[in-house]
C-alpha cells in the first residue's frame, strides 16, 4: 500500500464518523431504527478497522505524520495542522472505536434513539475522540475536546423526563466549559511565549527558553482544564451527577474512555512540548500529580463504597481509578506510562462491562438501587455472574489485564522508592472492587443488610422503549462477555504488554517525536521488555482481591461488626455533603483547585 494513502488514514478515521453523523441527521423522522443502527455500526466498524491498521502500521514503521492541506513546515516552522500517529495514539483511537462499537450494539435493542439523533451524537463523539487522540496540534486538540463536550452535554440530557437528569447535564456543561476556558487560557499564554501551536514546534521553542512564570502558569491552566474532564479532585464533581442520569451506553463511554482521554492529553502535551523545559524539574510536577492522584483515588473509593445507586457507585470507582492513572503518569517515566496505558485499556473494558450489566438490571427490574435489586439478580444469572466477575477483575485479580498493569505500576513505583504508594493503591483497588462486589453479592444472593442510608427506594424508568424486558436479550449479554474476554486476553497474551512497553518508550521520547513531525524521519520502535509479573506484585494483587471480598462482606454484614470498628464511616458524611449537586459549589471548588495547583507549581518550579 502506498505511503500517501497510509498517511491519509488518520484523517479519514476522523472524517468518516463525522460524515456518517451528517448523513443520518436529516432522516430523524423517517429513518428506521434498523437502518440507523446499521449505518452507525458500519461506520464504527470502519473506524475500528482503520485505527487498528494505524496501530499495526505505526508499530512496525514508526510514527505516521500527515500535514493537513499539505501545509508542510517551511524553513523549520510548522504552518499547518499535523496528525502525528504513534502506537499509543493509534491504540487509544482503536480502543475508542471499540467502545463506541459496543455502545452502538447496546443501542440496537435498548435505549430510545429519538429518531436517529442518539446515533448522530454518538458518531460525532467518536469522530471527536479519534481526532483528539491522533492530532499533534495543541489548538486542534482543544477543538476536538470541545466537540466531545458538546456531544457529551447532549448525550447526557437524553433522558429528560426528570429534572435531575437535566441538572446533571447542566453541571457537566458548566464545569466542562470552564475547563475548556482554562485550557484555552493556557494555550494563549503558551502561544504568547512561543508563537507556535504545533506540539513539536512548541517543544523546540521551549528548549531555547528559560522557565518563567508564564510557562508555569500555562502548564497549570492546561493541567487544571484537562483535569476537569479527567475527573481529578477537586474538579471531579460533575462526573457522578452526569453518570447517574446518562443512558447506559453513554456512561460506558464517559467512564471507559472520555475521562482517560483527558489524562492522555495532559501526558501528550507534557511529553510533546513542556518536557523540553520541565524535564529537570520533573519531581516537583510529579509530586503534585502523585499528591492529587492519591487524594482522588482515596476519595473516589470511599465515595464509591458509600453509594448504593449502581451507576453512581461505578462513577466514583472511575474517579478513584482516574486518581491512580494520574499518580502513575506523575512518574513521567516510560514504564509508568506503559503501565497507565494498559491500565486504562483494562479498566475501560471491565468498567464498560459492569455498566452494561447495570443497564441490564435497570431494563429488567426497573431499578439501579442496590437495596431494591437485592436478591433479584438470580432471575438474570448470566448477567449477575458477569457483574461479579467484573468486580473481581477490578480488584486486580490475575490473570485479568488490570493485574498486569498493576504489576508494572508497582515496579515503576518501586524504582522510585515509592513502594508505599503501591500498597496504598492496592488498598484503593480493594475498596473499589469491594463496593462493586458488595452490590453484586447483595443483588445476586440477597445476603446481608444493604446499606441503611435512610433514603426511600426509587423506581426508575427502564431505557428500553415500552415496558421492561422479560428476559435479557443476547446483545446485552454478548457485549459484557466480549469485553471481559478481551480484558482477560490483554492480561494473558505476552505480546500485548511487550508492544505497550515499546509504545510507552516512543511516547516519552520528545526527540524522536520532533524528528518525525518536523524532520520527516520516523524511527522504528525501540525494543523493550521487562518481566511481566513478579512474585511480590502477584501476592499484592491476590491479597487486594482477598481484601476486596472481605470489604464487600464487611459491608453486607456491617450490623455484626463491633461498634468500635465503625469509626471509618465518619468521614462519609462530610464527603457526601461536598457533592451537593449544585454547579455553583462546583465552580467554587474549581477555583480552589486552580489556585492550589497554580501555587504549587509556581512555588515548586524555578521562576
Amino acid at each position: 500500500m502506498s505511503t500517501t494513502f497510509v498517511r491519509l488514514v488518520p484523517a479519514f478515521s476522523v472524517a468518516v464518523p463525522l460524515m456518517a453523523a451528517a448523513v443520518l441527521a436529516p432522516f430523524t423522522r423517517c429513518c428506521t431504527r434498523a437502518v440507523s443502527s446499521v449505518v452507525t455500526t458500519v461506520a464504527c466498524g470502519l473506524v475500528l478497522g482503520m485505527t487498528l491498521f494505524l496501530l499495526f502500521y505505526s508499530s512496525a514503521h514508526g510514527t505516521i505524520v500527515h500535514w493537513m492541506g499539505g501545509w508542510e513546515p517551511s524553513h523549520g516552522t510548522a504552518i499547518g495542522i499535523s496528525f502525528a500517529v504513534d502506537p499509543m495514539g493509534a491504540g487509544l483511537a482503536a480502543f475508542v472505536a471499540l467502545l463506541v462499537l459496543c455502545a452502538t450494539v447496546y443501542t440496537w435493542i435498548a435505549v430510545d434513539l429519538v429518531g436517529t439523533l442518539l446515533h448522530v451524537l454518538l458518531l460525532a463523539f467518536l469522530g471527536a475522540m479519534c481526532g483528539y487522540a491522533l492530532t499533534g496540534d495543541l489548538f486542534n486538540m482543544f477543538v476536538w475536546f470541545e466537540l466531545m463536550t458538546a456531544a457529551a452535554i447532549a448525550l447526557t440530557s437524553h433522558k429528560i423526563e426528570e429534572a435531575s437528569s437535566i441538572s446533571g447535564a447542566i453541571n457537566l456543561a458548566v464545569t466542562n466549559s470552564l475547563g475548556g476556558f482554562l485550557v484555552l487560557f493556557g494555550i494563549a499564554l503558551l502561544y504568547g511565549k512561543t508563537d507556535a501551536l504545533n506540539l513539536a514546534q512548541i517543544g523546540e521553542a521551549l528548549a531555547k527558553q528559560p522557565i518563567d512564570a508564564a510557562l508555569t502558569a500555562s502548564f497549570a491552566l492546561i493541567v487544571c482544564g484537562y483535569f476537569v474532564k479527567g475527573a481529578v479532585a477537586p474538579f471531579h464533581f460533575w462526573l457522578d451527577d452526569a453518570h447517574a442520569v446518562a443512558p447506559t451506553p453513554v456512561c460506558l463511554l464517559f467512564s471507559g474512555i472520555m475521562v482517560q482521554l483527558a489524562l492522555y492529553g495532559v501526558a501528550r502535551i507534557y511529553f510533546g512540548a513542556f518536557a523540553a523545559s520541565f524535564a529537570p524539574h520533573v519531581c516537583a510536577i510529579g509530586g503534585l500529580f502523585l499528591g492529587v492522584g492519591i487524594a482522588t483515588a482515596l476519595l473516589g473509593a470511599l465515595m464509591a463504597y458509600a453509594q448504593r445507586h449502581l451507576k453512581r457507585l461505578l462513577a466514583f470507582s472511575t474517579v478513584s481509578h482516574s486518581g491512580m492513572f494520574v499518580a502513575a503518569i506523575g512518574l513521567f517515566q516510560p514504564g509508568a506510562i506503559a503501565a497507565t496505558a494498559l491500565f486504562i485499556a483494562a479498566h475501560g473494558l471491565v468498567k464498560s462491562a459492569l455498566f452494561v450489566c447495570a443497564g441490564t438490571y435497570l431494563n429488567r427490574f426497573r431499578s439501579l438501587d442496590e437495596c431494591v435489586l437485592g436478591g433479584r439478580g438470580r432471575e438474570a444469572p448470566a448477567n449477575s455472574a458477569m457483574f461479579l466477575i467484573g468486580g473481581v477483575a477490578l480488584a486486580a485479580c490475575p490473570p485479568f489485564a488490570i493485574s498486569v498493569a498493576k504489576a508494572a505500576f508497582d515496579r515503576a513505583m518501586d524504582a522510585r522508592g515509592l513502594a508505599a504508594v503501591s500498597l496504598l493503591m492496592a488498598l484503593v483497588s480493594a475498596i473499589d472492587a469491594g463496593a462493586v462486589l458488595r452490590s453484586g453479592l447483595h443483588i445476586t444472593f440477597g445476603i446481608g443488610n444493604a446499606q441503611d442510608t435512610g433514603i426511600s427506594p426509587r423506581e426508575e424508568e427502564p431505557e428500553t422503549i415500552g415496558d421492561h424486558l422479560e428476559s435479557t436479550p443476547w446483545t446485552m449479554l454478548a457485549v459484557p462477555a466480549a469485553l471481559l474476554a478481551l480484558a482477560l486476553w490483554l492480561g494473558v497474551d505476552e505480546r500485548i504488554w511487550h508492544g505497550i512497553e515499546r509504545a510507552g518508550a516512543v511516547f516519552v521520547d520528545r526527540h524522536s517525536y520532533v524528528g518525525a513531525v518536523l524532520g520527516g524521519h520516523s524511527l522504528p520502535l525501540p525494543d523493550a521488555s521487562g518481566p511481566k509479573q513478579t512474585a511480590v506484585s502477584l501476592t499484592l494483587n491476590l491479597s487486594a482481591t482477598a481484601l476486596a471480598i472481605a470489604i464487600a462482606l464487611a459491608g453486607l454484614f456491617r450490623h455484626r461488626i463491633p461498634r468500635q470498628l465503625k469509626v471509618a464511616s465518619r468521614p462519609f458524611a462530610f464527603l457526601r455533603n461536598l457533592h451537593s449537586g449544585k454547579f455553583a459549589d462546583y465552580v467554587a471548588y474549581l477555583m480552589v483547585g486552580v489556585a492550589a495547583y497554580g501555587c504549587w507549581l509556581v512555588v515548586a518550579l524555578p521562576r
Binding site: I160, I166, G192, T453
Partner: protein
C-alpha cells in the same frame, strides 16, 4: 515597567473571574448562561491582546494596505473565531436545558435543583 502594557491581560483575567463569580452567585439558570458567556469572552480578549502589534494594520490586504505591510497576528483571530462558535453552541445547549427544566419543575433556580443526592 510600563503597567499599562499588561492592562489588557489583567482585563481578560478580571472578566474571567467575574464570569465565575456570576456562576457562583446565580439564582437563575439564564443568568448562568450569561455569566458563562462573559467568562468565555475573557478568552477572546486574551487571545487578541496577545496577538496585537503596534504600528501594524489588519491582516487583510487591499490596494491601500498592500501585501507585505506589517499586520497583527492573524492566527489568534482565526482561533478566536472558532472559540466564538463554541461559545454560542454551549449557550444554546444550556438554554435549551433550562427550558426543559422549567417545563418539568417550573423553576430555574439552581439552588433548588439538585440531582437526587444520596
Amino acid at each position: 515597567m510600563n503597567v499599562l502594557a499588561y492592562l489588557p491581560y489583567a482585563v481578560s483575567f478580571w472578566i474571567f473571574a467575574m464570569g465565575c463569580y456570576g456562576l457562583v452567585r446565580c439564582r437563575n439558570l439564564i443568568a448562568a448562561v450569561l455569566a458563562l458567556a462573559v467568562a468565555q469572552s475573557s478568552t477572546y480578549v486574551l487571545l487578541l491582546s496577545i496577538g496585537f502589534h503596534k504600528q501594524a494594520g489588519a491582516p487583510i490586504f487591499s490596494p491601500t494596505n498592500p501585501v507585505g505591510s506589517p499586520a497583527v497576528d492573524p492566527i489568534v483571530q482565526a482561533l478566536t473565531l472558532t472559540d466564538i462558535v463554541v461559545g454560542a453552541t454551549v449557550s444554546a445547549l444550556i438554554l435549551a436545558l433550562s427550558i426543559q427544566i422549567h417545563r418539568r419543575t417550573s423553576c430555574i433556580d439552581p439552588e433548588r435543583l439538585s440531582p437526587m443526592s444520596e
